[in-house]
């Protein structure tokens, strides 16, 4: 075969393979590589997310007592009888007698949001007992926050009637 013709055919073949096959293959490969990169990044992010969650969970497990306290402070449901019992106990330990107690639970969809339970208490006792009750509420296991307090003198000397409005909380 004529050498020059062969050279021409080889060059033409190289150009044809390059333009018709190699260049599109290169473009397809770039697209595939970018897709792989994106999906791998997505997978890696998911793995990192669960790794972080596992670390957070491990950290939380180091404080079981503290978590239990927080859980008791804001329980999963209102637990009204135990709330009443708790307030009665706190009043009794402070030297007060519980005249009346009432609470309202808002009925609604069960969500992760904190529910407020407004409670009204009527307590009878001495001034120092009332102060003791207020300090006990600040360090008690069930979380509550005082909203208002009205103290008025009673018929018995040295004793007062206190109307306490507070908020307890649950999920």
């Amino acid at each position: 075969m004529n050498r020059n013709l062969l050279i021409g055919i080889l060059f033409a073949g190289a150009v044809s393979i390059g333009t018709l096959f190699s260049w599109p293959a290169w473009q397809d490969y770039q697209i595939a590589r970018s897709q792989v990169k994106d999906r791998e990044l997505e997978l890696s992010n998911r793995e990192t997310y669960f790794q972080d969650l596992r670390q957070a969970s491990d950290t939380l497990e180091e404080y079981p007592a503290e978590l239990a306290k927080v859980e008791a402070a804001i329980p999963d449901n209102p637990k009204l009888p135990s709330l009443y019992d708790f307030l009665q106990q706190e009043a009794a330990f402070s030297g007060l007698s519980l005249g009346s107690i009432s609470a309202v639970i808002e009925q609604g969809e069960r969500t992760q949001e904190v529910k407020v339970i407004p409670v009204t208490l009527e307590l009878v006792g001495s001034y120092s007992a009332m102060k003791e009750f207020l300090s006990r509420l600040l360090v008690s296991s069930r979380f509550s926050s005082l909203q208002s307090l009205n103290i008025a003198g009673s018929t018995q000397p040295g004793t007062f009637i206190a109307t306490v409005q507070l908020h307890a909380y649950s999920y």
Binding site: S22, R39, R54, S57, L67, V70, S148
Partner: protein
């Protein structure tokens, strides 16, 4: 016809030889690159298939439970922390009264309101002068933001009946 005298091999010029080598090299290079790219594309497709499979497999039950547990604890801690920050302590109001009450003044009614940060007092003083002194004692203190005498009248049993509102700054009840 048989060639009896062998022909001398044809001599090519340097340019012709170089062009031939270049043409062969280019051909092999483009063909080779195509084959390599074809192989790499296949490998990428296999990796992509594997990654997609792992992604579509979704979360395990253990992962869902872990997420729920961590998020629940986080919400609880955040709620507790924000409620704790908003909680009011009424004891400073009593301490304030204990240290400022005039010996000749008696308070039969005391109201503390956390939202308004007020202390409302219903009091009895033996005289107007005593009430004046009581007000002066309150005003001399740093804690109250504002003091207002809302009611004042002569008592049927003698002395003076009055009502007083004391406004405190928010940090007073923290």
């Amino acid at each position: 016809m048989v060639d009896i005298i062998p022909k001398a091999p044809r001599q090519y010029s340097l340019i012709s030889r170089a062009a031939f080598v270049l043409a062969v090299s280019s051909f092999i290079l483009t063909l080779g690159s195509f084959l390599i790219l074809w192989y790499l594309q296949g490998r990428s497709a296999s990796v992509l298939f594997d990654v997609e499979e792992r992604l579509t497999a979704g979360r395990t039950q253990e992962q869902n439970a872990l997420e729920a547990n961590v998020f629940s604890s986080r919400t609880r801690l955040q709620d507790f922390s924000s409620l704790l920050a908003l909680r009011k302590n009424f004891l400073p109001a009593f301490l304030f009264l204990e240290t400022t009450v005039h010996p000749n003044v008696y308070f039969p009614g005391v109201s503390v309101n956390a939202a308004r940060q007020t202390l409302e007092l219903r009091g009895k003083a033996t005289s107007f002068a005593v009430l004046d002194e009581q007000l002066a004692i309150f005003e001399a203190r740093e804690e109250p933001g504002a003091i207002s005498l809302t009611s004042l009248r002569l008592s049927e049993t003698g002395g003076v009946d009055f009502q007083l509102g004391i406004q405190f700054p928010p940090q007073f009840f923290q």
